[in-house]
């Protein structure tokens, strides 16, 4: 059950949007496809919905091969970044669209639409046109429209991308609550790692048309498979072969056996958190994340010489990311250029 994609490949001209991508989304879960723009996350989502044909690979929805089914027969609800509201229809007619197509009877449509509008908190606005709604309201209408036909899966393509920061945060919380109530298998695409970690139960990190890693937010943060994942799901410093999170940087006034000399370049106060930027003797620039209390205890000033020591670091051997964190030379590692296949996203 759930959604399975096997060996998906898609090319647009010279651009390889998807390169042998396989994911597995458990039934009833809330999963985020996370990645920078051009990573293939939206293409993957559209391929699952049937809005994009794959060059190779299969899409299974609830154990049924949907690869050659048209979008209209896949039973998916799709929410677009720019709402895709039917501009010439009222909110009511928008939400009723799928039911009208299914030839529901008028009183039943009316009941269902009002039930959904209540769910998305738009009940008083049924007679309005999309142009009379705010961005957040339009997106909630689009969600109600997608949910009206009781889809097997709900797919959201950067659903909050066009909204301002405050509305975006509210909708995140609301989406999570909605998912808890409805338990429909949901995938949403985002380039915002904080949003992905906040909303989703599991994350699939994509880059350059491949899956880099999947797992819970904790897995990705604590055991990133490679440099890309490590730097995409959080801040990172690089010390030669070692990667270290800024909050894992220890700053001391006295030298100790493992520490390195550094000069304070800049101290930036971001509220509770303080960002301290250093230059090492060899010119490497790094930064540490300190709390206000730590900073006060150390009494740091700019141009001061201090000693920094990473509490823990990660080393990724080889240029090619490897799912188990070991190098490309290990038996289970991957050779350069074989793409990233078979990363299971089971939680």
């Amino acid at each position: 059950m759930g959604i399975t994609v096997e060996g998906a490949a898609k090319r647009f001209g010279d651009f390889q949007a998807l390169n042998d991508v396989s994911i597995n989304v458990p039934d009833g879960s809330l999963t985020a496809l996370l990645g920078p723009s051009g990573s293939g996350k939206s293409t993957l989502l559209r391929a699952i919905a049937g809005l994009e044909d794959l060059d190779a690979g299969r899409v299974l929805i609830n154990d049924e091969d949907a690869t050659s089914k048209p979008a209209q027969k896949r039973g998916v609800g799709f929410v677009f970044q720019h709402y895709a509201a039917f501009k010439h229809m009222t909110v009511f007619e928008n939400v009723a669209f799928g039911l009208t197509i299914r030839k529901w009877k008028k009183p039943e449509i009316s009941d269902r639409v009002h039930e959904l509008l209540q769910l998305v908190q738009l009940d008083g606005l049924a007679g309005r046109f999309p142009s009379q709604l705010s961005g957040g309201q339009r997106q909630r209408m689009a969600l109600a429209r997608a949910l009206a036909v009781q889809p097997q899966v709900l797919l959201l393509d950067e659903p909050f991308g066009a909204l301002d920061a405050k509305v975006r945060k509210d909708l995140r919380v609301w989406l999570r609550q909605l998912h808890e109530e409805m338990h429909v298998t949901t995938i949403f695409v985002t380039h915002d790692q904080e949003e992905a970690m906040d909303v989703a139960e599991q994350l699939v990190v994509m880059n350059e048309g491949r899956v880099e890693q999947s797992g819970t937010a904790n897995d990705l943060y604590e055991q990133p498979a490679n440099e890309f994942v490590m730097s995409f799901v959080g801040e990172v410093n690089r010390l030669g072969e070692h990667f270290v999170r800024p909050h894992d940087m220890e700053v001391a006034l006295d030298r100790d056996e493992n520490s390195e000399e550094a000069m304070v370049q800049r101290i930036v106060s971001l509220g509770f958190e303080i960002r301290v930027e250093f230059a090492l003797a060899d010119g490497t620039e790094i930064w540490a994340q300190l709390t206000r209390a730590e900073l006060q205890k150390l009494e740091l000033r700019e141009k001061q010489i201090v000693y920094v020591r990473p509490r823990q670091t990660k080393v990724f051997s080889g240029d090619v990311p490897s799912p188990d964190g070991r190098g490309a030379s290990t038996p289970h590692g991957r050779k350069p250029g074989d793409g990233n296949a078979e990363v299971s996203a089971a939680v």
């Binding site: 049937g50 809005l51 979008a71 209209q72 039917f86 669209f97 689009a142 429209r145």
Partner: protein, 267 residues
């Protein structure tokens, strides 16, 4: 008076002056001339049997040519915008031909094609269908000259609405046909409507191509513009003023009808 106000008034005067001199003055003149001796003379000319026949023939031509070009125009616009392919550049360029070619040349080319020694003439003659100097030729000529309008008005609107709404409809279970009728057509309706108005105006007024292929036989193959020309040639002032006014009013009424519908919908 600030310089921007001055330039605004300057531009306005220039624009209005240009329109008055080149567009309004001739039209006002014709209205004035038509009703100079009351309503009876022009009305008599129009309601003469030849006049009524010309009106009927023009309306028949509109009733055939406009729907055909509307359907073709919308289908063609969908092809150009929604299904980009290698052949589209050729189609796009071909559609513009009627704009580039003088109607008289179009008339001549139809005349040659359907004439007794043309490629298609003998075939139709054998089947017993009279094309030239008959209604089919008039309709063909009008279709040719008015073909680009609906396509040209619909293409930009289709591009502007994008594909998201159509894709959303398909994920909600609508098939291509349902998506077209319920989503695409309502979204592009004013572009299409404007194309229809322009097509209708063009078909109503077409003269050059129709002159050649119709033979302009009074009471048989004379459309309203040809009737106007005939009255002009015969120095029948009342007749040609009256028919001209009728022609202008017909075109104007389609434009007004569209504006009325649009306003009614917006309120």
């Amino acid at each position: 008076m600030s310089s921007s106000t001055r330039s605004r008034w300057g531009l306005r005067t220039l624009g209005l002056g240009y329109l008055t001199l080149l567009l309004l003055a001739p039209l006002v003149m014709i209205f004035y001339k038509t009703f100079e001796h009351g309503i009876a003379p022009p009305l008599d000319a129009i309601t003469s049997s030849d006049g009524l026949h010309a009106l009927k023939l023009t309306l028949i031509t509109v009733a055939i040519a406009v729907p055909l070009n509307t359907v073709f125009g919308v289908v063609c616009a969908l092809l150009l915008v929604r299904h980009p392919g290698k052949g589209n550049t050729a189609i796009d360029a071909t559609i513009n031909l009627p704009f580039a070619i003088s109607p008289i040349v179009i008339g001549l080319s139809l005349f040659l094609l359907y004439g007794t020694s043309g490629w298609l003439g003998p075939t139709f003659a054998e089947a017993g269908i009279k094309v030239l100097f008959s209604v089919p030729a008039i309709v063909l000529a009008c279709i040719f000259v008015s073909l680009p309008f609906v396509v040209r008005e619909t293409v930009p609107v289709l591009q502007e609405i994008g594909t998201d709404q159509e894709l959303a409809a398909s994920t909600l279970g609508a098939n291509a046909w349902q998506t077209f009728w319920r989503i695409t057509l309502p979204a592009i309706r004013w572009g299409v409507a404007y194309g229809i108005v322009l097509t209708t105006a063009r078909v109503l007024g077409e003269f050059g191509a129709v002159t050649i292929v119709s033979g302009s036989i009074s009471g048989q193959t004379q459309t309203l513009p040809l009737f106007v020309a005939k009255q002009f040639d015969n120095y029948n002032e009342a007749g040609f003023y009256g028919a001209s006014i009728l022609l202008a009013l017909l075109a104007l009424s389609t434009l007004l009808a569209m504006n009325f519908l649009k306003r009614k919908e917006e309120t």
